[in-house]
């Protein structure tokens, strides 16, 4: 078991990193951060309603994982999935329109923030029952195995899911049947408002997965290069037919659980401590130190992201509301469809 959660030192991958890769990683994280900040603003303005779970603080996970998956691979995610969808290539406008409840949204306005879907990109949600998506990932992988396809199903879930029975049933099935699933546990150390030391008997979650005789790693989820390196190993192993692989990514959410959360359960000092390990700032500082990024790069990437997001908001604002006559459309397939 590789345990690399100790500190902010650069991982060995830095030595092999070039400028274009560094820019791509920073761009991914900045896009997600800026998108989420805009969502928070739009929520405050009443443009987005329902639940809104922001990914701010956890960007290194999405940026280190999602770009390593091939177009043929599948992703099953959670209700904190805007960043996963965005980096998977779901257009920012389609995500924003979804949160605006517009028919141009990636789920036609039926899902909202927690249920982003894009089957054309093999992005299977957007699942808001904690651990409920994990068995589906096992099934997608089972189908690939039975049909002889060398695809990977990446299954993202939070630390809270590890306390659910569906998590354990899925671990067992995937390991027993040696299915091609890459399990990615985003351990932000809270199940909504309950800290992990208050709900888990064993807080090393990789160790739990290991008990299913699964290959596991535990990595610093604030270090995008460590995430990327672990993901690369996992994808290679899973695609090679070795069975499932489990990565625990230790991270932290800087914002409240959802827009309704008054954050009574954690101290400002704790949040401040983790903010000092901001994955974007950490990476930017280290990459700059090594001469891979220049002083203006971050600002340029932020401007690009802001322009993309402004266009997404305009797209969502201009979107249409589905006619109420279509309310029950897609409950079942239309008659005669395959």
């Amino acid at each position: 078991m590789n345990d690399a959660t100790s500190g902010p030192e650069p991982s060995p991958d830095f030595l092999a990193l070039d400028r274009s890769e560094a820019l791509a990683l920073l761009r991914s994280m900045v896009r997600v951060r800026r998108f989420e900040e805009k969502c928070a603003e739009l929520y405050g303005a009443g443009k987005i309603r329902g639940f809104l779970h922001l990914y701010i603080g956890e960007e290194a996970v999405a940026a280190g994982v999602i770009p390593l998956l091939g177009a043929e691979d599948a992703i099953v995610s959670t209700y904190r999935e805007h960043g996963h969808a965005l980096l998977r290539g779901v257009p920012a406008g389609a995500i924003m329109a979804e949160m605006f409840g517009r028919v141009e949204g990636c789920s036609r306005g039926r899902g909202g923030s927690m249920h982003l879907f894009d089957v054309s990109r093999r992005f299977y949600g957007g699942n808001a029952i904690v651990a409920g998506g994990i068995p589906i990932a096992v099934g997608l992988a089972l189908a690939d195995r039975m049909q002889g396809r060398k695809r990977v199903t990446a299954c993202l879930f939070g630390d809270g899911a590890v306390a659910e029975g569906e998590f354990h049933e899925s671990m067992n099935l995937a390991a027993l049947w040696k299915l091609p699933v890459l399990f990615l546990c985003e351990n932000n150390q809270y199940a909504m408002g309950t800290a992990i030391d208050r709900y888990e008997s064993e807080q090393n979650l990789a160790l739990k997965a290991r008990s299913y005789r699964m290959e596991v790693e535990r990595v610093d989820g604030m270090d995008v290069l460590a995430v990327r390196a672990a993901t690369r190993r996992g994808v290679e192993f899973v695609r090679g037919g070795g069975g499932p692989w489990f990565i625990e990514l230790v991270t932290y959410r800087f914002r409240a659980h959802s827009a309704y959360d008054p954050e009574l359960y954690r101290s400002k000092d704790e949040v401040k401590h983790w903010r000092e390990r901001d994955p974007i700032a950490l990476f930017e500082a280290l990459a700059s130190e090594r001469g891979l990024l220049g002083p203006d790069d971050a600002a340029v990437l932020e401007q690009e992201a802001d322009a993309e997001i402004a266009a997404a908001v305009a797209f969502a604002e201009a979107g249409t509301l589905e006619p109420v006559e279509d309310l029950t459309r897609d409950v079942c397939a239309p008659r005669g469809s395959p």
Partner: protein, 336 residues
């Protein structure tokens, strides 16, 4: 059934009809596989899949751990990815462990994804009481599932339907749940040698009659027919309708029958409160109120967890005498 030579028939059982349907499904479509607890080496807890492991191998007749949510969810994922899984849950009580997957995922994903994610999954499960297996193996919870938009819910009550509903269900683009009443598995009868797929969108009139309509499904259809026979001996000509499809309900057949007979008794092995019988009753009130000559009656299971002791279990369940009594009640005192 027309033509010069009568179609060949053979004696079989409900269990064998289910097995024949499974075998045909596995033979005719490479995407089909059967998955569940003890479906393989054991041969199925009700022996429905006996011999299929030997014929199709362990990939396609797949024994699972005791993980209802896990393997139902895996069936959902496999269905999304192009397979046609048949998932067997040992009994409806256990299906509650998978209710999250069935309701929050299988029934919901198409709509919640704006039409992108279809789940062509078939789930079979045993239901019902009568074997003294007490309160955690005997319930009839078909109404739970019939409540959920996005599902199709079937209750094969005959050999023909046991043989033919599965093939049609596998062609559905959305999840279908098949309830097999555990007391029906040993039921013997004749089945056409060329029996195959049957429609799954209409109720069936199992006995035509003019004086009253008895509406039943699954394990109570036989009891309804026995009651109709007893009523015939007393000069009452009852019509028996087998719902067959519990969601969506075939209102037209029900309304047409009641319009003819003007009386209805609904037989349901579920508990009365919030039952399917309540739903059928309401629809008849909504759509055929002015056709009725008497209040609609229901014969349901007593509101008690099914007890072990034989006499108590029998007392809890709908019985032929209770159905006869209920029909006579709709005809007014003194009849017969």
């Amino acid at each position: 059934m027309s033509g010069a030579a009568p179609a060949a028939v053979r004696k079989t059982t409900y269990r064998e009809a289910v097995r024949a349907a499974l075998r045909e499904a596995l033979r005719s479509d490479e995407r089909v596989f059967l998955m569940g607890e003890d479906v393989g080496r054991y041969g199925g807890s009700y022996a429905c899949s006996l011999g299929l492991l030997e014929e199709f191998g362990p990939e396609r007749v797949r024994d699972t751990p005791l993980s209802e949510a896990g393997f139902v969810g895996a069936g959902i994922g496999a269905a999304i990815a192009g397979m046609r899984p048949i998932v067997e849950i040992m009994t409806v009580n256990f299906s509650l462990l998978a209710l999250d997957q069935i309701m929050n995922n299988a029934a919901t994903l198409r709509h919640m994804s704006g039409g992108q994610v279809g789940v062509p999954l078939v789930i079979r499960m045993a239901t019902g009481a009568g074997r003294q297996v007490a309160a955690q193996h005997s319930h009839s919870l078909e109404n739970f599932y019939a409540h959920i938009p996005g599902l199709k819910v079937l209750a094969p009550a005959t050999l023909q339907d046991a043989r033919g509903m599965l093939a049609t269900a596998l062609k559905e683009p959305d999840p279908v749940i098949l309830f097999e009443h555990a007391m029906l598995y040993p039921m013997e009868g004749e089945l056409a040698a060329d029996a195959g797929a049957v429609p799954i969108d209409r109720a069936a009139i199992r006995r035509a009659g003019k004086d009253a309509t008895i509406i039943a499904y699954g394990g109570t259809v036989g009891k309804a027919l026995a009651a109709a026979q007893a009523l015939a001996d007393r000069g009452v000509d009852a019509e028996v309708i087998d719902l067959r499809t519990l969601r969506p309900l075939d209102d037209d057949t029900l309304v047409a029958s009641v319009t003819k007979t003007r009386r209805a008794v609904i037989v349901d092995e579920g508990w009365r409160t919030g039952s399917l019988a309540a739903e059928v009753c309401t629809r008849l009130v909504e759509k055929a109120f002015y056709e009725l000559d008497a209040p609609i009656a229901r014969v349901c299971t007593a509101e008690v967890p099914i007890p072990y002791a034989k006499h108590l279990e029998e007392a809890a369940l709908p019985r032929v005498e209770k159905i006869v009594e209920a029909v006579l009640g709709t005809l007014g005192a003194g009849h017969g």
